[in-house]
Symmetry: C2
Subunit: 269 residues, 2 copies
DNA sequence: CGCTCCCTTGAAGCTATTCAAGTTGAGTGG
DNA sequence: CCACTCAACTTGAATAGCTTCAAGGGAGCG
């Protein structure tokens, strides 16, 4: 019944069985996307939110010169465009990097869930915040870290997120990312990425194959680039938020809502 | 009664008089911050949201080596940390760059406003989205644009945002930013920023003074770097969102929810 | 008047890009 | 199963872009 999306949201907010069921229901209708295909394209009018249930995808912006900048990688359980519903058109595209299974949810449903289920509202809020935090981390690294540490840091981030949903093992990880994709992410040229990867390979931090990067020992890579996963909020450091909010807020919000708009049922006699 | 914060939120969502009053009330208590001082520091426990009502500030992350990366500039009317309430501690600092007037709002109040007032909820949502969009734009530029266009683009963004709240004129703009601050934003060295600015100066696109950059003709600068302000959502391109959402949402959502999950009140007899 | 912070200047050196070939590997059709 | 093809990876050399180091000048502030 529960899928990776539900599991991921549940990492940061305590969801009731009812919440979980509602989310699982909403993500029931899925579709398959082939590698390289767009799930959503820049300029589309947003109607459905997309949830990546299996595979590996990215959020990117096309550029005038034909290139692209990858803004984020999406791992199973991630929302692709959860918070775009109020926009007149999509500001970025989503592309599948491997074979993907994707659930579609009409934005109406998202809005309903957010409006009536405070825990889900909170969980969605978390997901925006973490998205923004990842962007910030990328930005900080881009300016300040050396290219090889930046690439290593990025790999650590993706691996950590994969581990959080149970898709990567503790020690070794294998990512299906091409060097061209990495170049589009880091804002470096393909050539330079190649040389950076060659260095990392020489230091035995990674192994490289066709569209594949293998990290034999993740903890060593983390030490190399000083990776601190705090900004992903995948652990229970923020537990006080978890305990403070869900039950308390849901009752309070309900009461507040009714105070303002009148009782729900009785308003339509 | 209405201040720049209210005005700014009102750019993207139609606020009722009641909404405006509530927001104006919430931002009544203000404080002054001297240039260079932190308004909020990394690691603080979030209790109050801060709104910049006058002056110029930035959001930044400190680095191990003593440097910093500036993640965003804040202009009058901007929220500094509106959406951080659920975090256990602040992931970044806010610093005043000039003399600033700042309003404090307890996060409880924000949550209440968001819960009771759908328009305010929407307006806050917009502000997160635009924050993220600005980060994305920075990231795209950092990788792909030449240093001088990147700096020019950044200047255009800040000026456009100042114009939106009526703090900058149509033609000329004067920004109180030091070259060191620009360097921390663009992830470039101070020297290089200097040379980039020297180039822009030579092309008569800007004038440079002490902690001051003057743009004599903004439209020329925009043309130079191909600035498209769409991502700031300051115009009425997205007007359909404005009219569709506020009132409609609450009624429609209510009905939809009940159609889907059954009546609420009667489920607990 | 002297201090400090900021902007200005020059030169040397490293980092990343560009251009121009090659090589390898996976998938395809004969 | 083998040749063919295309995409991805590999290599080297030349160049542009950015950084670092070092040092001098000018504006504002006490």
């Amino acid at each position: 019944m529960t899928n990776l999306f539900v599991r991921k949201l549940g990492l940061r907010v305590t969801l009731s069985e009812e919440d979980k069921k509602a989310l699982a229901d909403a993500t029931r209708s899925t579709m398959k996307i082939a590698p390289g295909q767009d799930v959503v394209s820049e300029g589309d009018r947003p109607e459905f939110a997309h949830i990546l249930l299996d595979g590996f995808a990215c959020r990117y912006r096309g550029l005038e010169d034909g290139g692209r900048t990858i803004l984020a990688y999406l791992v199973p359980g991630d929302g692709c465009d959860l918070h775009a519903s109020i926009l007149p058109r999509m500001p970025h595209s989503i592309a599948a990097l491997t074979h993907c299974v994707i659930a579609q949810i009409p934005y109406r449903t998202i809005k309903e869930l957010a409006a009536y289920k405070p825990n889900i509202y909170l969980a969605l809020w978390w997901s925006i915040i973490v998205d923004e935090a990842m962007l910030q981390e990328l930005l900080v690294g881009l300016g300040r870290r050396s290219a090889s540490k930046q690439v290593a840091h990025f790999l650590c981030e993706v691996i950590t997120r994969l581990q959080a949903v149970g898709v990567a093992s503790e020690n070794e990880a294998r990512l299906h990312i091409s060097q061209a994709e990495l170049a589009d992410t880091a804002g470096l040229s393909l050539m330079h990425i190649y040389r950076v990867l060659a260095d990392l390979k020489k230091s035995n931090l990674i192994k490289v194959g066709q569209k594949t990067i293998i990290v034999p020992d993740i903890s060593i890579l983390k030490r190399f680039c000083g990776f601190d996963p705090g900004y992903l909020y995948l652990t229970d450091d923020h537990a006080f938020t978890k305990s403070e909010s869900p039950a308390a807020l849901s009752e309070a919000t309900k009461a507040q809502y009714e105070a303002r708009f009148g009782p729900r049922m009785s308003s339509t006699p």
